[in-house]
Amino acid sequence: MSRYERMFERLRARGEGAFGAFVMLGDPDLGTSASILDALVGGGADMLEVGIPFSDPVADGPVIQAAAVRALAGGVRPAHCFALLADFRERHPEMPVGILTYANLVIAQGHDNSHRFYRLAAEAGVDSVLVADVPLFEAAPFLASARAAGVAPVLIAAPNTPPETLAGIASEGAGYTYCVARAGVTGADEEVRFDAPLLKALAALGAPPPVLGFGISKPRHVRLALAAGAAGIISGSAIVRLIADNPSDPAAAVRAFAAEMKAATLPAGAQ
């Protein structure tokens, strides 16, 4: 059983949803980034999603773009990110960790029989890789490389994804299914809508557990998402903004936020 499977099973037994936290590695710097990951775990995060900064992140809104710019300006490279993740794995052997990045960074690491990027991820103890600009249509070589390296390829499902593509996402994806809660790029919204039909369709297809992302920034959003049938949520822009807004102690800020969001995943009686 994978770390994701063990985590989802444990939460299911307790009637909880998964709180996933996203941060950009190396923002504001590598050392602080490591302490932010620890703080997220300490605050109650059930799974971590981490960005490897890319110069041209077309799926991201201004908040996460700015984090990538800060990390790149600080000289953060993929090799630094893998080293940081390997250290994290030693401290937290059971926490599921996924990378979210872009296709050009994956193929730039080279390819011999399969993409070297996935082997580097596996060696760093990473559980999954999601490539934001690789849809199912182009996914075949990436899926093969992920499988060869023993890394779960996470695929994205959107409210407008046609049924035949959803079936492919359900059968080819692993770890969890990243469900986009709305059209557009990443960002922290005031109000969010959830696509219950998408979640139902994924469940009927036996897809990996659906985790909702994009726009989720408040405990209220978490409760709505779980009520709509999501196995968990991922909050990104809200956390990245907290890091930017609290330069003196970003770890404390994200820890408090994680605790607040995690509390919203507990069954109604426990909240």
Partner: protein, 394 residues
């Protein structure tokens, strides 16, 4: 998708899953329209009566020689001032066909933005143009033109503040707006079906040029030459010559301040295969895959990727790609003005500069040579910059 959207190993559709249905809808609409005589007829009428096609093929009187003859395909005379209008009118018709009420576009030099703005005005479509803030500064006149025609121009402050960042921003907009918005991409780059579709809508350049040169010279040219940023004017010129093996296809990339420094936009000459803006193609990048900032005196060539079909033509050897520096392009620009009374865009001057080189060589070797150069745009937009740069060169 009905097609794989590949040119050999290049191309494809690397976009977030949420954009795939929009690309599928576009592919279907494009393929349907290609088979629809009413669509073709409306486009041809627009191109003839609104845009001014066919454009002439002008033989240079004073550049080249009796032996080495240089012909200019005069896309600079097209309404809007550049070849961009050809495919913008076609995509605007498609947008209407798909029931979209809003169009968005990126622009570098501003020519594609101007073309999109005129189509928006013509078809009553709400129009927003993303333009790198750096390009907004160097192309003020085109910004005013777009606004005059009712388009909203949004300066993009991220990254290098040029064309690549404008494309990122347009893609972000489209990810949220595809239900009512068509992304009117301006070149043969981006995800399938754009590279194929834009080439087909620009093919008219080469189709006319081929017939015109056959009428003038009673033979095919030795070479067809065009500048390459994203590569749409070049693909438009090349498409109908690809099967003519005796015609050399030559793409001129911006060598900027020199190919050996970092300040150029010569993607095919100095980049390596990667994935940017939805396509697998040559990309200027560092060893980690971070995209490099390109450089060119001409905003329209200042782009760190290139249309995937050019990557295929390069690898297959069917087309040759050469570098032309800012300096050589500026000299060709000035020479064309003085010798022929034509003020071309800085972009087109890159192609002309290489043609002048080939013509001089042929003359020296007493070889006959016939060249067709795509004069892709006129130089009005570059006047302020030309005044500054040529003043300095004196």
């Amino acid at each position: 998708m009905l097609m794989r959207g590949r040119f050999g190993a290049y191309g494809g559709a690397y976009v977030p899953e949420i954009l795939m249905p929009a690309l599928e809808q576009l592919e279907r609409a494009f393929l349907d329209a290609q088979e629809d005589p009413a669509f073709r007829a409306e486009l041809e009428e627009l191109l003839a009566k609104y845009a001014g096609r066919p454009t002439p093929l002008t033989r240079c009187r004073n550049l080249g020689s009796q032996r080495a003859r240089i012909y200019l395909k005069r896309e600079d005379l097209l309404h809007g001032g550049a070849h961009k209008t050809n495919q913008v009118l076609a995509q605007a018709l498609l947008a209407r066909r798909m029931g979209k009420t809003r169009i968005i576009a990126e622009t570098g030099a501003g020519q594609h933005g101007v073309a999109t703005a005129l189509a928006g005005a013509q078809f009553g479509l709400e129009t927003r143009i993303y333009m790198g803030a750096h390009d907004v500064e160097r192309q003020q006149l085109n910004v005013f033109r777009m606004e005059l025609m009712g388009a909203e121009v949004v300066p993009v402050e991220s990254g290098s503040r040029t064309l690549k960042d404008a494309i990122n921003e347009a893609l972000r907009d489209w990810t949220a707006s595809f239900a009512d918005t068509h992304y009117l991409l301006g070149t043969v780059a981006g995800p399938h079906p754009f590279p194929l579709m834009v080439r087909e809508y620009q093919r008219v350049i080469g189709r006319e040029a081929r017939a015109q040169i056959l009428a003038e010279e009673k033979r095919l040219p030795d070479a067809a030459i065009a500048c390459v940023g994203g590569g749409s004017n070049a693909m438009g010129l090349f498409a109908d010559f690809v099967a003519d093996e005796e015609v050399r296809l030559i793409g001129c990339e911006p060598a900027g301040r020199g190919l050996d420094g970092g300040e150029h936009g010569a993607t095919l000459l100095r980049g390596r295969p990667g994935i940017l803006h939805g396509a697998e193609t040559y990309v200027l990048q560092d060893e980690d895959g971070q995209i490099s900032e390109s450089w060119s005196v001409s905003a329209g060539l200042d782009y760190p990727a290139v249309g995937p079909e050019h990557a295929f033509l390069k690898d297959s050897g069917r087309a040759d790609y050469v570098g032309v520096t800012d300096q050589d392009a500026l000299e060709a620009f000035a020479l064309l003005a003085r010798s022929e009374g034509i003020i071309c865009a800085f972009e087109s001057a890159h192609a002309l500069a290489h043609a002048l080189r080939l013509a001089a060589e042929a003359d020296e070797q007493e070889r006959e040579l016939v060249l067709v150069v795509n004069l892709s745009g006129r130089g009005d937009k570059d006047m302020a910059q030309a005044q500054k740069l040529l003043g300095r060169m004196k």
